[in-house]
Amino acid sequence: MADSAKLVVIGAGPGGYAAAFLAADLDLDVVLVDPEENPGGVCLYRGCIPSKALLHVAKLIDEADHAADWGVAFGKPTIDVDRLRGFKDRVVSKLTGGLGQLTKQRKVRHIRGTARFTDANRLELDLVDGGTDTLDFEHAIVATGSHPTAIPGFPESERILDSTGGLDLAGVPKKLLVVGGGYIGLELGSVYAALGSKVTMVEMTDGLLPGVDRDLVRPLQKRLEKACEEILLSTKVVAIKEQKAGLKVTLEGDDLDKPDRTYDTVLVAVGRRPNSSDLGLENTAAVVDEQGFITVDERLRTAQPNVFAIGDVVGQPMLAHKASHEARVAVETIAGHKVAFEPACIPAVVFTDPEVAWCGLTETEAKERGIDVQVARFPWAASGRAMTLDRDDGVTKLIIDPETERILGVGLTGAGAGELIAEGVLAVEMAALASDLKLSIHPHPTLSETMMEAAEVFFGQSTHVYRPKRAKKAKTS
């Protein structure tokens, strides 16, 4: 007879394990299906966490180099790739091991394998140890995540890596081509540039981080231009040929002096695709759209009422924190609570140096959608704290509703922007007004003051920036 469960969660990434843990906390009988030994998913094994460990080291290398300007010279770093990889792997195994512990403590049944729906109440399991099994369930949560998009037509080669391969850190290539100027390409490109690779970045559109406000990208682009060999915008890779000397890459773009170049390694980071095929969803009523995302309602319920889906597999943005929040909504719905996925904003962070972070409405989006907003910018050149770090290449901006003075969005570029954006999230979620930020005392000297001062800029009253309001719109609060 088949095994059975009240709830089965398929996939143990930050969406899946959060769902399974909460379900256990709510006393639901829950099974977690995932091939890895411990929960973690892409985020912990092949994404957020290992890349952050490497970016931390990259930043250290940069700062050590920079320190010469401050009178402290360390000399050229010696890089032991094996030990660096070891550090990254230890971080990963410690975190995933911890999750394994939490799984046991909560008595979540973890089945190592992959699952496929045979109908709306039964899964067929392909077990890691070999063999198959079936599992009957009342409710299921699909949290199978996404995988890196491959570019069709590129040859099979050990020297062509996706983000997973890039994070494996097999070595440090002399010459690296990064295809894709999105956040993954920029983060990994930065790591390799710091480790000593000569990095060329190729982006198909006319700017790095497509879709992000240009004033946020500009300080990052400036720094990357120094760190990288070349940044080629409006450029495409049309062919790659494997040769003895390396990979011969043919580029196509407007201002290319020579289209054919040779690289030791090519890193492809051109987006991610949802893992929705091979799940047997066609055996349920669940609907998958043309892009492969599973269609869900605001409670993360698919068209098959007892099957839910969360995380990368249901749509953009593909971010771990979105997945784990959705996990809560799905599980609480199953437990009978009246909840919905209704955030006012989902923050995004690019962990380059400087970091870029934003939440809520962006200036670009406001323009596209014809929303009337007022933008208040505070340049970090006016921040004392930024000066002490010798990092005034930053900006803090607020997107404000001129009518209610409510903060609709926040954008940040600069050192530590990823941490600072949390205040912006709270402001947007709480429907804070510009005056709320202005009147909240921020500690001095910190980078967080830039949030308060940006709000002061809105009222034409920033202490450290002289930018009076035009008389017509003068405001006090």
């Binding site: 007879m1 088949a2 059975s4 009240k6 045979t118 109908d119 709306a120 109440n121 039964r122 009957d136 009342e138 409710h139 066609e282 055996n283 349920t284 009523a285 609907v287 759209d289 269609t295 869900v296 309602d297 605001e298 409670r299 068209a303 098959q304 009422p305 007892n306 749509g315 199953i334 437990a335 009978g336 609570h337 009246k338 909840v339 919905a340 996925f341 209704e342 955030p343 006012a344 904003c345 989902i346 809520g360 409405l361 989006e365 406001a366 959608r369 929303i371 509703d401 209610t404 003075e405 409510r406 609709l408 969005g409 979620e429 709480m430 429907a431 007004l433 005056s435 709320d436």
Partner: protein, 436 residues
């Protein structure tokens, strides 16, 4: 194994704001029946109206999940229809199992109460690609949004009292309270607390009859109006001898065929004109907002006696309709009220109510104001009365009028002026031509 025949689910659709559950009053089909798209399959009764729910598609009914007398909630699955030709019932079986319940496919005796498959959150019809509304979401903290959802109210409807219109948890609670007090459907509580009744059977035989939805709503609404509104009723009478003879003459004309003038229709028209003259009677009192809400539209509610109880359909924009139009519309609304065919929306948005008990032979009475309206006009039966005029007693047709009003907003003198104006308009309708 793949899904077999395409199966359509019929879920209880949204029937109007604040309506979350209804009673199934009739089931017109049975499992195995072949139905056409849009064919009525069940009838449900809300607090105020009956509605027929149509089939979403043509096909064969494979499952019927409700029966007469059930209380069902918005979004609940009513039945399943196998659409498309040629498939057998067996192919659809996995679907039936999915619904939570049969045979060996679900060997879980402990699974007794299936986890709730729906709550009363608005139903999203598939395929509904859900995108969070980022950008200009409602100005409310996540905790306030969550509370609204728990209490079953739409956060977008809640008036925010904070800076920039921010909605606090207190605003959500206050809003829910106002709905409960107005007897609205979203009230999560049961009927109001009542003092304990004695055991009547100790004095003789009794019989209990369950409250209908209409009675329950009426009880709540009346109790609320009675406790909220300090009532005063003022009485007056109007001589409608002339009006009545005009009315009769009109109704005998050939062009009146099928479009009769009625006393109630004339009254509605005159009251609508009166409301234009006395806008305060067409307003609501907003103590929380420290203001009077003056409505630029005139919608007259008309109390209709039905076998199931009192219903109040609304004649919209009565001020800009002529008497014959109003008569025809009223005839239609009243007929459908009696046939349980009124839509909930047809009973909302009144700014003033007219209740005519003349047909039953009464004279004066004190009607209860239909809060949040501020006044109601009661009409009794017109009678021939000997009136002294022109040096002698003359038989005149006199109609009794009773105006109840909210004394918080309307002073006695206002009411006297309003009622007199109305009475005079009834006596000399030509005077209306002089008004603008």
């Amino acid at each position: 194994m793949t899904m077999g025949a395409p199966v359509e689910e019929l879920k209880l659709p949204e029937l109007g704001e604040n309506i979350e559950s209804v009673e199934v009053t009739a089931v017109m089909i049975a499992v195995g029946d072949q139905v056409e798209r849009d064919q009525p399959v069940i009838e449900v009764e809300t607090e105020k109206a009956s509605l027929e729910v149509p089939a979403p598609a043509a096909g064969k009914i494979t499952e019927l999940l409700v029966s007469k007398g059930d209380q069902i909630t918005v979004g609940q699955v009513i039945l399943r229809i196998e659409t498309g030709a040629g498939e057998t019932a067996e192919v659809a079986e996995p679907k039936a199992v999915a619904a939570g319940g049969t045979a060996e496919a679900a060997p879980q005796p402990t699974a007794a109460p299936p986890l709730p498959e729906q709550d009363d959150a608005p139903v999203v019809s598939f395929p509904a690609k859900h995108k969070p509304k980022i950008g200009r979401a409602v100005p409310a903290a996540p905790s306030a949004r969550a509370l609204a959802r728990q209490l079953g109210v739409d956060i977008n409807e809640v008036p925010g009292q904070g800076p920039g219109g921010r909605i606090s948890r207190e605003d959500v609670k206050a809003y829910v309270k106002s709905i409960v007090q107005s007897g609205g459907g979203a009230a999560p509580s049961g009927p109001g607390t009542a003092p304990t009744l004695p055991d009547f059977s100790q004095w003789g035989e009794i019989e209990r009859e369950p409250l209908t939805n209409i009675r329950r709503a009426t009880a709540a609404n009346m109790a609320n109006a009675w406790t909220t509104v300090p009532h005063v009723t003022q009485f007056d009478r109007a001589d409608i001898t002339q009006l009545e003879s005009m009315r009769k003459r009109f109704n005998q004309r050939p062009e009146a065929e099928g479009r009769k003038m009625t006393v109630t229709a004339i009254l509605i028209k005159l009251v609508a004109s009166a409301l234009k003259q006395f806008p305060k009677f067409n307003s609501s009192l907003d103590l929380a907002g420290d203001s009077i809400v003056l409505k630029k539209y005139v919608n007259i509610g008309v109390a209709v006696d039905t076998p199931r109880g009192l219903l109040v359909p609304v004649i919209r924009d009565a001020a800009v309709k002529n008497v014959v139009q109003i008569a025809a519309e009223l005839n239609d609304l009243a007929g459908r009220a009696r046939d349980k065919k009124l839509k909930p929306d047809e009973m909302r948005g009144a700014t003033f109510t007219v209740t005519n008990l003349g047909g039953l032979g009464t004279t004066y009475f004190s009607p209860i104001v239909a809060w949040p309206e501020v006044a109601i006009l009661g009409v009794g039966r017109a009678e021939q009365v000997a009136i002294w005029g022109n040096g002698r007693f003359e038989p005149r047709l006199i109609i009794p009028l009773s105006l109840s009003y909210d004394h918080r907003l309307i002073d006695g003198a206002d009411a006297a002026r309003f009622l007199r104006w109305t009475a005079e308009a009834l006596e000399q309708p030509l005077l209306l031509l002089l008004e603008d």
